[in-house]
């Protein structure tokens, strides 16, 4: 009798435990976190949308050389990427008070056409479980994470574009 009870308990436990695993098959949803625009306005990450087309979210900082190399590499072909797939790149700066004020002049000086937000307090970084920058997410039209990649090596941007095309159905 004891054994039967144990068996039932164990199987129930197993079902409970396995549930979160099923739930995991879906990618992480973009959480609603307050960040700031480059003009100091409060901005909810809920508003990162792209009209049914894929979104790239790239965590970076002005002092992070590989991050800047990555964003420069994408910038070279960004217009073409947008034309082909309608993709939108959202660059989240994790610069703190020391360098946050330089983000806008820095990005302007680089001629970047990205939507840039300041995550000075690291709230969005923590919510997306980012360890180090650069960390780049590809987000589906339903605002779920399709894929993510950390670090940058030349050529990574081309693989990212392959994934963007797939996500855009091109």
């Amino acid at each position: 009798m004891k054994n039967v009870f144990l068996l039932i308990s164990a199987s129930l436990l197993l079902i409970f435990i396995s549930q979160p695993l099923w739930a995991q098959e879906k990618g992480q949803k973009i959480p609603s976190i307050k960040v700031k625009t480059l003009n100091g306005q409060m901005f909810d990450t809920d508003s990162i949308v792209n009209d049914g087309k894929p979104i790239i979210i790239s965590f970076w900082a002005t002092w992070c050389k590989p991050c800047v190399t990555e964003l420069n590499a994408i910038a070279e072909n960004y217009a073409e990427w947008q034309e082909q797939t309608g993709v939108r790149l959202v660059a989240i700066s994790i610069d703190d008070a020391r360098t946050a004020g330089s983000v806008k002049p820095f990005a302007s000086g680089k001629n970047w056409e990205y939507d840039i937000y300041l995550d000075t307090n690291g709230d969005f970084k923590r919510a997306m479980n980012v360890n180090t920058v650069p960390h780049t997410f590809l987000i589906s039209s339903s605002r779920e994470v399709i894929s993510q990649h950390t670090t940058f090596a030349p050529g990574d941007e081309e693989k990212l574009f392959e994934e963007v095309k797939k996500a855009a159905g091109k």
Binding site: P20, T69, N72, N129, T150
Partner: protein
């Protein structure tokens, strides 16, 4: 029979419960990240690497976040067995150091447990973490964020600060308001000029059990800020004042403290400019009077000079002097357009960054307990830091990219590192960072660096070679060589090799060699590493 019935009921209720549970779980996300840094230490007296009795040390942590609609909860488990060299030994052992729950209901957000936050630029309050440096002054308490009207953002908190595996003795509480006039008054929404105002008040309480001194148990600090925007121009200014706060780090003086920070910025297509000024006077603000160094800071006083990442540029890094400093910084970012003489075929980027930091002017106070008097209009005569950075970024063709850097630094080692009598270091640094893209997947990157100085350890040279195969592999080898050292036995090579594998958000790096103390940036990330010799293993993962 009865037993069977009980089991049947149990199973039934279990299944019913399960379907409900499943519904909840379907809307629940469980995510997190993990990091492990381990090192095997070889004894190496030549570089002054301390003997490690454990032979191997490791730091690790994992964050687990659960979200369901407007509810979020999270924990972090940290393990230091024992802490890596360079980390405070009070990080010893394992445990749950961070746990919180947050609920958001429209205009109100409530957090209980641990949280990170900051008011304005952080002059009176900032709690944050920098895991790679072992810095974490997370609050443990209650925080509310309230957004009653469009453009009005209020925050309030009360709690104690994290101190390694415990919390500090003081209670910290604060309120902050931010008002965006363009959101509050609809008539201002379309104006070219926008104004955001903010104000905060923070106070700490710590019991006075000093047998001799009459110490203030409550110490308050306030700050006011403005962010003014007009087209491409902006002004970000903040002033902070702290009431008398005798503590170990200010030699128990009863003087007030204050800080001012002003930044002017301009941004246009292809051009960015900033001009910043800062003055800090007696602004150590900690939740324990006897705390020092990195411990229990309530506020954050950012350093003005450029954040350096190249190896030899990090030999002399400046750190803010909270007891008093004043300085300025100017920076320029510009891109010469493509198809112009200076722009060449692809355009040329240039950035210039320069700073000057001095002591503040002080004179003896009329009353001993006040320590000193100061004058805003007079400049202190001790040079703390000077630098000039010029960086040129150039894409030569589809295969070659160049970053050329020249840096001059003057560094007051006496003040910054607390080494009395040491003269200021004047260093000239030149760096060539060259990338050659062999094809779409394979690249080679080389860094050649040289530091010339007549002071301290004299001249250094460094060469680094990195080979990457996108998107998974990197190999690197570098040597830092203190070839100019006056002492012949100290002309040491710091040779190091590393191998890394990245797949999606998982990354494994294995390294071997000697490391000089400093900020190490290889294969795409930067981390602080103390002087050591041995094998390093680093794993990071996001799930």
């Amino acid at each position: 029979m009865i037993r069977k019935l009980i089991i049947f009921c149990l199973a039934g209720s279990g299944l019913m419960g399960n379907s409900l549970f499943a519904q909840i779980l379907n809307n629940t996300g469980v995510h997190g990240n993990f990091e492990l840094n381990a090192q095997y230490y070889d004894p190496d007296s030549a570089i002054g690497a301390p003997v490690v009795p454990e032979k191997m040390l490791s730091n690790g942590f994992a964050n687990i976040l659960i979200t369901n609609g407007r509810f979020t909860a999270g924990i972090r488990y940290e393990s230091y067995l024992n802490a890596l060299q360079g980390f405070d030994p009070r990080y010893t052992g394992s445990g749950i150091t961070y746990r919180y729950a947050t609920y958001t209901s429209d205009e109100l957000e409530v957090t209980v447990g641990n949280f990170y936050d900051q008011f304005g630029n952080g002059l009176v309050f900032r709690s944050y973490e920098e895991r790679s440096l072992g810095y974490d002054n997370a609050m443990d308490g209650i925080r509310l964020r309230y957004n009653p009207l469009a453009g009005v953002y209020l925050k309030g908190f009360i709690g104690k600060q994290r101190s390694y595996f415990s919390v500090g003795p003081g209670i910290v509480r604060g309120i902050d308001g931010e008002f965006n006039t363009a959101e509050i008054f609809k008539s201002l929404a379309d104006k070219k000029t926008r104004v955001i105002l903010g104000g905060s008040f923070v106070s700490k309480f710590q019991k006075d059990d000093d047998p001799l001194l009459n110490l203030p148990e409550n110490v308050g600090a306030y700050a006011a800020r403005i962010n003014l925007l007009h087209g491409g121009f902006s002004i970000n200014a903040e002033y902070a004042y702290k009431y008398n706060d005798p503590s170990t780090v200010n030699n128990l003086i009863y003087k007030y403290g204050d800080a001012i920070y002003v930044q002017l910025a301009y941004a246009a297509k292809g051009l960015g400019l900033t001009l910043s000024g800062k003055r800090i006077d007696n602004m150590n603000f900690r939740s324990d009077r006897s705390a020092a160094v990195q411990d229990l800071n309530i506020n954050f006083l950012p350093a003005l000079p450029k954040t350096q990442t190249y190896r030899l540029a990090t030999v002399y890094p400046y750190a803010t002097q909270p007891n008093g400093e004043e300085g300025i910084n100017a920076e320029l970012f510009y891109t010469f357009k493509a198809k112009t003489p200076l722009g060449g075929r692809y355009g040329t980027g240039i950035s210039i960054n320069t700073s000057a930091i001095n002591s503040i002017f002080t004179s003896p106070a009329s009353n001993d307990t006040l320590g000193y008097e100061t004058d805003y209009l007079k400049l202190g005569d001790v040079t703390y830091y000077r630098d000039l950075n010029v960086e040129i970024t150039k894409k030569v063709n589809q295969s070659w990219k160049l970053i050329l850097t020249y840096i001059f630094q003057e560094y007051n080692k006496d003040v910054v590192e607390g080494k009395p009598g040491v003269q200021n270091v004047h260093a000239h640094i030149g760096i060539a960072d060259i990338t050659y893209k062999i094809n779409t997947k394979n690249s080679i990157r080389a860094e050649l660096q040289h530091l010339a100085t007549k002071q301290d350890h004299q001249d250094w040279a460094m060469a680094m070679l990195e080979y990457t195969i996108s998107p998974h592999w990197f190999f690197s080898v570098y040597d830092e060589y203190n070839y100019g050292n006056e002492i012949k036995d100290d002309r040491i090579h710091f040779l190091n090799a590393a191998l890394g594998y990245t797949r999606k958000a998982n990354r494994i790096t294995l390294g071997y060699g000697r490391q000089r103390a400093g900020l190490l940036c290889v294969g795409g990330v930067c981390r602080f590493v103390p002087a050591s010799n041995g094998v390093t293993l680093s794993i990071t993962s996001t799930f």
